[in-house]
């Protein structure tokens, strides 16, 4: 069982100031998050609450449930892993807990050139398409 304060602080350090989808966050912080879960059985209800409280929403714009959080993580894990580090490249410095976790800028060069083989290509296509005008959400009271 993951120790609750540990995973919570790790997620907090990863930066959740900006609202977005849970999947986007998991993609951007995949390695750091995976390293925190390594060797533990994730407590998905707690994690789902942490993510929801931090303002991360599921693909449909709802607070993520425990099951949705677990499935999202499963899908993100299946996405392509980063390529091997070049042989002569310096080893990463710092540790995963203290290093800032951020999403690298997406450019033509960093975009994956293949999309096939992922189980949820539909999500990728829908994320790519223009969404049009959105129905305004009610204000928080």
């Amino acid at each position: 069982m993951t120790t609750e304060p540990d995973i919570l602080s790790a997620i907090s350090r990863a930066g959740l100031q900006k609202r977005g989808t849970l999947k986007e966050w998991m993609i951007a912080n995949r390695e750091a998050f995976a390293s925190k879960l390594e060797g533990f059985k994730p407590d998905w209800p707690i994690l789902a609450k942490v993510f929801a409280d931090a303002g991360l929403l599921d693909q449909r714009g709802n607070r993520p449930t425990a099951e949705a959080t677990r499935k999202t993580w499963q899908r993100v894990r299946k996405l392509s892993k980063p390529g091997p580090r070049p042989r002569d490249a310096p080893a990463p410095t710092g540790n995963a807990e203290t290093a800032p976790v951020h999403r690298p800028p997406v450019t033509a060069e960093t975009q994956p050139t293949g999309q096939a083989g992922t189980g949820d290509y539909r999500d990728e296509v829908r994320a790519m398409l223009s969404k049009g005008l959105q129905v305004p959400k009610p204000l928080d009271k």
Partner: protein, 262 residues
């Protein structure tokens, strides 16, 4: 992901891994039903290629509407619209590409079955690959479910490794979002099957004033710069801004396949 390469060998490709075709000779095909934006895409891609110093062969085999000829005076075309003439002309085109090793953009008419027959009879993708020419196909799709029929038919005989499904937001009916309009396309087994065999997908943004550019027969760069031909209406700042944004978005969207059209 196990993928059948163009030369018939089966290789294991990881997601994100496609052979780099930068600088290699290619034949770029645009496929799809009529009025799905094939010629618009080809115009944009050819312009882009030329802007980057390329000297592509521009082949306009659209038997009903030779749009490319109107925009690129150096474009070549079949001697007639007769089936046999077009087929022989296509054979010559392939032979020339193999011999001269440059890149060609080939525009065929909407729904034209010539490519299907040509691909079937020559086993086109492996044939071109064997001779060092990379076949590249872009399928233009609107939001009409029947737009998938061309893809379904051609995939049975022509399925190059470098295949891209282009969801053309310019074809989405007014008042609908691309996200909702393309849902039936995305969920369709034909689309799914192409993606699962390795086809990429991307969006082509909508340009609200596309007809104004078409009508003037201008390149996108000229239209953005406001360079009109003698006697034509001027292009105002608002339209130029729309064109600039469209070009920027299109470039970003097609960035992942940049090498396919360079």
């Amino acid at each position: 992901m196990a993928t059948k390469r163009d030369n018939g060998e089966t290789a294991v490709l990881e997601r994100g891994e496609l052979p780099d075709v930068t600088g290699q000779p290619k034949i770029v095909f645009a496929g799809g039903r009529g009025k799905t934006g094939k010629s618009t895409f080809m115009r944009w891609a050819i312009e882009r290629c030329i802007e980057r110093g390329g000297e592509p062969v521009i082949a306009d085999a659209d038997r009903t509407n030779q749009t490319l000829m109107a925009f690129f005076p150096t474009a070549i075309k079949p001697p007639s619209a007769e089936d046999d003439d077009v087929r022989l002309w296509l054979n010559d085109l392939a032979d020339n590409q193999i011999e001269r090793r440059n890149t060609a953009f080939l525009d065929l008419g909407g729904g034209d079955l010539t490519l299907k027959h040509w691909a079937r009879d020559l086993d086109l993708a492996p044939f071109l690959t064997h001779h060092g020419i990379t076949p590249v196909v872009f399928y233009l799709l609107g939001s009409d479910i029947d737009d998938l029929s061309y893809l379904r038919d051609l995939e049975t005989v022509f399925a190059p490794q470098h295949t891209c499904l282009v969801l053309n937001e310019g074809m989405v009916p007014s008042g609908r979002s691309p996200l909702s309009a393309f849902n039936p396309i995305i969920d369709h087994p034909v689309f799914e099957s192409a993606v699962k065999r390795g086809a990429l997908f991307l969006r082509m943004p909508k340009l609200g004033c596309m007809q104004e550019i078409d009508r003037r027969r201008l390149s996108f760069a000229d239209a953005e710069a406001g360079r009109v031909r003698e006697g034509q209406d001027r292009i105002g700042p608002t339209m130029r801004q729309m064109i600039a944004i469209w070009r920027r978005e299109t470039e970003a969207s097609f960035g992942k396949v940049s090498a396919w059209i360079s």
